[in-house]
Amino acid sequence: MKNLPVILVMLVSAGVLLRMAEQQTVAQVESENTTEAEQKIAEATSRKDSSCMKCHGEADLWEGDRLRYFITENHLAKDLHWKKGIQCDDCHGGNPESMNFREAHSAEAGYRVISTPQDIPQFCGHCHSNVEYMSRYSPSPKTNQESDFWTGGHGRRLKENPEAGVANCVSCHGFHGILPIDDQTSPTYPKNVAKTCATCHSDAEKMAGIDYHGRPIGHDQYELWSTSVHASLLMEKGDLSAPTCNDCHGNHGAVAPDVNSVASACATCHVKIGELFNSASMKHRFEQASLPGCATCHGKHDIHQPTDDLLGLDMGAVCASCHLDGKFGATLAGSMEAKMMGERLKELKERIASSEAKVEHAEQLGMEVRRAKFRLHDAHTALNNARVAIHSFAQEPMKETIEKGLSVTQEVDEQAEAALREHTFRRIWLALFLVPIAMAVVLLILFIQTQPPPTIQNLEH
């Protein structure tokens, strides 16, 4: 027993050592797993012996037209590539260790020449089309930008005419100061995309004479889009999921949607409406008449918040523009269908307004109508669903949601009316409660009057 403290100390020490060893093993395993990607980047950033800046960073060497070759680290400070350790020769090739101009820029040293804008996509694609290389930065990298570009409107025109001034990679992304798309100052940040496109597409001179599928491309897209509900959502409400140019036209392979594929572009976000439209017989009529799907009624770039007035045959209703005149083979039966749909929608709206008024009245009287108010959301949902169902161009799907909405308003009405009845009941209850109390008080007072008057007694008792 004399050795007990020694044994205890040894046991504790052994425990501590075992714990430390265990922690070290865990740390080793973790570091092996996590630093593989970092090592690749560190490998790239370790080459600091580039001699490019020795000439290109020297201000005195460049002037006039050649000033664009004057590049310092300041120019590159915010550049996405530079920050990841990608150096001049990683993009431009050549021999960065040589101080000899010809040797440094020789084809033998792999120097990549950009002689026309046509060379730029390939120049960027050197890395961006290389899955193996790009996997250093992302486990599932996108490497289709270059191939997409050549199939898009810009790429095709560039291929046809390298000097046409068509947009290429650097037109949108810039070059020695490329920012990531989540940088708010980047030209490709969602809020800036429309303006970036507009630098060319709002230029009347640049767009003059350019056709797409036989129609002049125009230069008012940005102006129109700026007034749209989409622009309002994106620019004013800051909803970055709201569509800007690239969401409908594509990114690197940008094209204008074909007349028959407009609905598909819209359906990317408006899924349910897209489904209904695609299964509607009207879709084929639109195709036959070469009408651009959704854009026929809602417009192209200047898409405004749709109102219920668009439906029906009244002034301002889009249905009327074809069905009243029988344009594009529109029928009278179709016009009646549109009228009926408009009336059903109006009926639900009026019922909802009436239910809301009842609930509000009950609430103003101090009644608890939270559930009825909450249920009203379902009526509004039904109304919105009915508006969506319009795109089936048939009464039946719409009728179902309208019926659902009407039954909800009926339920809300019942709850509001119950609250109003309860309010009346409380008043009656109160009156019934106060009458006996008043009687009891009167009787008590009368009884107290009959009691003997106060007398002088010993209060100390």
Binding site: G366, M367, E368, R370, R371, R426, R427, W429, L430, F433, L434, I437, A438, A440, V441, L444, I445, F447, I448, Q451, P453, P454, T455, I456, Q457, N458, L459, E460, H461
Partner: protein
């Protein structure tokens, strides 16, 4: 055992005829004889004689300020209403952040007369504090705190503080937006108490911020800890009131030519009947308020939502809330809010120690001056708080 029987036969049996049941108009009826037997059975075992004696001997002096005596009875009645309605609410209330609001909503809509119980409980709380404040002021004005009633005053002050704490803890329980943010502001004030503020804040909130844990803490305080303390304090207060009898103001004693020359009425039934009139009126007022102005439920608390406009505490905290808002951030290099809290703490201490500070004409004048200034200050601040 036989001794007990003998004692019962010899001592208790005669009491049966000399207790509280000896003034019947029809002593011979069998019903009355049966009632007397039941009373004798209970009196013997439950000590009812003590209460009957107390009722018969307790006298209430009648003078100009006698109506002030009703305030104590009114407060006691409201406390009973609060306990009763509180117990009924507890049957349906669910004290967790995700269910509290729904359960109160259910009380208001699904539970039969739940709306009435909740509204009576909420209005009753406001009325109780008002009555307690009036009771304190009138007791001060009548100087009923003088020897030997110092500790009646002290227990009364503690009871007022406790019922204010009841109000503060109960305010959060519906877990609505206004209560949530008001509690966040209210508990933050506790945090500025010197030395122990931070610990006190964490204890009160049951954590760093107001969360579901705070709700659980406030609920346990509101329904178990505070009621236990209240029963003890109330018991002590009532015992002392019975022990020392009703205090007679100097002016009334002087006008009657001596304290024992002041006319009086028996507590039972004369004063009790007058009390009952007040209680009936209180019940009627509570019913009226509950039916016409049912207590609002508001929106469910959203800890991540923005604070609603017009956060305000219960009316009886408003003067402190408004004053703390007006104090500059720093006063003489010290934190303004901390100074404010210390000032109100000091004022509370002065009120508590009033019986021990009233030792002469001069000190009484100082106390009266302070009382008038404090009252005006509280009224102005409360009005300002509601108008701001």
């Amino acid at each position: 055992m036989s001794h007990e029987v003998d004692e019962y036969n010899s001592k208790d049996e005669p009491k049966e005829t000399s207790g509280g049941m000896d003034h019947s108009p029809s002593d011979d009826s069998s019903d009355w004889r049966r009632t007397k037997r039941v009373y004798a059975y209970c009196a013997d075992r439950l000590g009812l004689d003590l209460l009957v004696d107390l009722g018969q001997k307790k006298l209430v002096p009648i003078h100009r300020t006698t109506p002030f005596y009703y305030l104590g009875g009114m407060a006691l009645f409201l406390v009973i209403v609060m306990f009763g309605t509180g117990v009924l609410l507890a049957l349906h209330y669910k004290p967790s952040a995700d269910r509290a609001f729904d359960s109160v909503q259910s009380i208001m809509t699904d539970v039969q007369f739940g709306w009435l119980i909740r509204s009576v409980h909420a209005w009753g709380a406001a009325l109780l504090i008002a009555v307690l404040i009036l009771h304190l002021l009138t007791t001060y004005m009548m100087r009923a705190y003088r020897r030997p009633r110092e500790y009646t005053w002290v227990t009364g002050c503690f009871l007022l503080g406790l019922f204010m704490a009841f109000g503060f803890s109960g305010y959060l329980l519906p877990w609505n937006q206004l209560a949530f943010f008001a509690t966040r502001v209210g508990t933050a004030i506790v945090g500025v108490v010197p030395v122990v503020g931070e610990e006190l804040l964490i204890w009160a909130r049951n954590g760093e911020d107001v969360t579901g844990d705070t709700l659980a803490r406030f609920h346990s305080l509101h329904v178990s800890i505070f009621p236990l303390i209240a029963l003890v304090l109330l018991g002590a207060h009532l015992f002392l009131v019975q022990k020392h009898g009703m205090s007679v103001p100097d002016a009334a004693a002087k006008a009657a030519g001596g304290k024992n020359r002041v006319p009086s009425i028996p507590f039972v039934p004369d004063f009790l009947l007058r009390d009952a009139v007040g209680w009936y009126l209180a019940i009627a007022l509570l019913a009226l308020l509950s039916a016409i102005f049912p207590w609002e439920l508001g929106e469910q608390a959203d800890p991540f939502g923005s604070a609603p406009e017009g956060i305000k505490p219960e009316w009886y905290f408003m003067f402190m809330f408004q004053a703390l808002k007006l104090i500059p951030a720093h006063v003489f290099g010290l934190e303004g809010e901390m100074l404010g809290v210390m000032f109100f703490g000091f004022c509370g201490l002065i009120v508590l120690l009033v019986p021990f500070l009233d030792w002469g004409q001069r000190s009484r004048q100082v106390l009266n001056g302070l009382a008038i200034i404090s009252l005006i200050f509280a009224i102005v601040m409360t009005i300002w708080g509601y108008l701001a």
